[in-house]
């Protein structure tokens, strides 16, 4: 090895080193994740539905799901051209399920972003300042939100504020941030005690730098795994709210389809083809998100591995 060979190799900066290490960690975790059959199946189903939601405008034209212009025979079991039958307006149930994926996933994912943003902010601050009065206060608020019947709160809130997709998103987000906050606080508390945080403080880093550079990156995996599980809960909550008639009737989600079928007497008349598909779609998506979340948890938490 000569001096020139060494000189040609540029010395990586600290930032490059960090990113190289992060890339390696992601690659290592992906290798573990790939061998988790649950996780892969869940990921596949999840990607399928997300793609379906994205391309749904190409598959279904607005006229097909408009009650006034729908062409099918009303309340008909499956027949040619309508593989899942029709609803009381003669709309294809298959079309409704395809269109519904959009709102259901939009609500599930956006509400989760709201919940996780709130939960992460409160959890990280609370954990980083663990033991102080600020932490005690934030922790009390978190515990309060954990204890009160949050589904009842969500129902009451959306009854008061009215039915619109954005209100539902905010309501679900505001009522489901406590669980993530508690998990993230616990993680932040343990990360805070690690030697490199102490070193950063000795080097004169501000609280903000320590949180952004050291605490957040180490809490991120927990946040991510938890967020995926929260999507499942958010989709279920949206369904519950819609079934109670608190959904946005102008934005067709799977829950709204179920509610319309229920109100139109699909149960007493035995229109199973109208009720079954949207429910099955919800079960598939929720299960997919749950399995992904559990698989990620298993990858990121060595204690759960076999």
């Amino acid at each position: 090895m000569t001096d020139t060979a060494v000189a040609k190799q540029p010395v990586p900066t600290a930032r490059q080193l960090v990113w190289r290490r992060r890339r390696q960690a992601v690659a290592r975790n992906w290798l573990l994740y790939r061998h988790n059959r649950q996780g892969i199946v869940g990921l596949g189903v999840m990607v399928f539905f997300i793609v379906l939601a994205l391309v749904s405008p190409l598959l279904v034209s607005p006229a097909d799901i408009e009650p006034a212009t729908a062409q099918g025979i009303p309340n008909s079991p499956p027949y040619s051209g309508y593989p899942l039958g029709t609803d009381n307006f003669g709309r294809s149930v298959l079309d409704l399920v395809i269109v519904g994926s959009r709102i259901s996933l939009l609500v599930g994912i956006t509400a989760t972003l709201v919940a996780v943003f709130l939960g992460a902010t409160i959890g990280v601050i609370s954990g980083y300042y663990g033991g102080t009065r600020l932490d005690t206060g934030l922790n009390a608020v978190t515990n309060w939100f954990l204890v009160i019947p949050w589904l009842v709160l969500a129902i009451v809130l959306s009854a008061i504020l009215g039915a619109s997709v954005w209100i539902i998103i905010v309501v679900i987000g505001v009522t489901s941030w406590a669980q993530p906050a508690r998990l993230i606080r616990a993680q932040a508390l343990s990360v805070r005690e690690r030697p490199y945080v102490e070193r950063a403080r000795v080097l004169g880093c501000s609280d903000r730098t320590i949180v952004a550079r050291h605490i957040l990156p180490n809490v991120a995996p927990v946040i991510f795994a938890n967020a995926i599980l929260t999507v499942a809960v958010a989709i279920l909550t949206e369904t519950t709210l819609s079934i109670l008639g608190l959904g946005d009737a102008t934005a067709i989600s799977w829950g709204v389809v179920i509610e319309q079928a229920f109100s139109a007497g699909a149960m007493t008349n035995g229109y199973w083809w109208w009720l079954v598909p949207p429910g099955v779609a919800i079960v598939c998506v929720t299960l997919a998100f749950t399995m992904c979340g559990y698989a990620l948890d298993e990858v990121l938490n060595p204690k759960l591995r076999r």
């Binding site: 009160i148 589904l151 008061i160 079934i243 109670l244 179920i258 009720l275 299960l287 204690k303 759960l304």
Partner: protein, 321 residues
């Protein structure tokens, strides 16, 4: 158990309730328009009638005065009057309490017994066919919206097979004695099964994972080295230690169960608090909604206090702090 622990838990429960009271007051004042205006929207009242209602509810007074009146009334057990029926909210709620207690009670007990038993067996025989099928079954049930699950059970067991009634608390035939009890239970089967399936599944998942964590602990290995039978190890050493985290989660999930009961009662036209809530949403009956939120919060806080105290007995380490 230390008195300080007990005092702290009771104190926390009281603080929680005070916050519920304050929250409940402001919850119904953040809505667009005031209650009287909303009443006008739902019942098409004239201007004069709206003004009368506003005076009746004390909406003309300052927020602080309103809060004072609200506190005084609530603490003396006056939750206002239902817009829909004109009856006191307290009477409306108490008349609907029993069916919900029956439904949630029976459903939860079945869910706990089944969920814990299956979770224990699954964890102990981890990877077996029983474990895998019960785990995937539970995950699927956990992912099923309970309202929709109820509709499916209704279509299959009440509609197609005709084994159970479509809904309601009883047939209203005026039977007494055994015949009435059988009738009520017959009506209870499907809604309670919906509740039990949904929550039993999540209890199973929780119990299974906490027992799996305990299974590899040193004290289990020690018990095995002492030559205890597998049953003894499971019953005396592993399960009691794994039970505590599940216990907390079960109690915390109680708030969710009450919400779930609202949907289930709506689907099965079961005349409890849940159906009352649904009717109140439909009619913009805010005093009733406010009362339901208060009563269900009270139920959850009391359940949590009970759980904390039991926890202190079950795990002496906790109450020693």
């Amino acid at each position: 158990m230390r008195w300080r622990y007990l005092g702290r838990k009771v104190g926390w429960a009281l603080v929680t309730l005070v916050f519920v009271l304050v929250f409940n007051f402001f919850l119904f004042r953040i809505m667009p328009g005031d209650p009287a205006g909303l009443l006008a929207r739902s019942q098409r009242l004239t201007e004069a009638e709206v003004a009368e209602q506003r005076a009746l509810f004390g909406l003309d007074e300052s927020l602080l005065n309103q809060f004072g009146t609200y506190l005084k009334q609530t603490l003396s057990g006056n939750l206002g009057t239902s817009y829909l029926t004109g009856q006191p909210v307290v009477d409306t709620i108490t008349s609907r309490l029993w069916p919900t207690i029956l439904l949630v009670g029976v459903g939860t007990i079945i869910a706990i017994v089944l969920g814990l038993m299956m979770g224990i067996r699954g964890a102990w025989t981890r990877g077996s066919r029983f474990d895998k099928s019960s785990l995937y079954g539970s995950l699927t049930l956990y992912s099923t919206p309970e309202g929709w699950l109820g509709m499916m059970l209704l279509i299959i067991f009440a509609g197609t097979l005709g084994w159970f009634p479509v809904g309601g608390y009883d047939s209203g035939t005026g039977d007494t004695g055994i015949a009435h009890v059988v009738d009520v239970l017959n009506h209870l089967v499907l809604p309670a099964a919906t509740l039990a399936l949904g929550y039993g599944a999540s209890y199973m998942i929780v119990m299974r994972s906490s027992l799996i964590e305990v299974k590899d602990e040193d004290f289990v290995a020690t018990a095995r080295a002492k030559g205890l039978t597998e049953t003894m190890i499971r019953r005396k050493h592993a399960v009691p230690n794994a039970f505590l985290p599940s216990f907390t989660l079960i109690v915390l999930s109680f708030g969710f169960v009450i919400g779930g009961a609202i949907v289930i009662e709506t689907i099965f036209s079961y005349p409890g608090i849940g159906q009352l809530t649904y009717q109140a949403i439909d009619a913009y009956d805010y005093p009733v909604l406010q009362g339901v939120f208060l009563v269900s919060s009270l139920a959850v806080v009391v359940a949590n206090l009970f759980a904390d105290i039991t926890y202190g007995f079950l795990d002496p380490r906790i109450s020693e702090v």
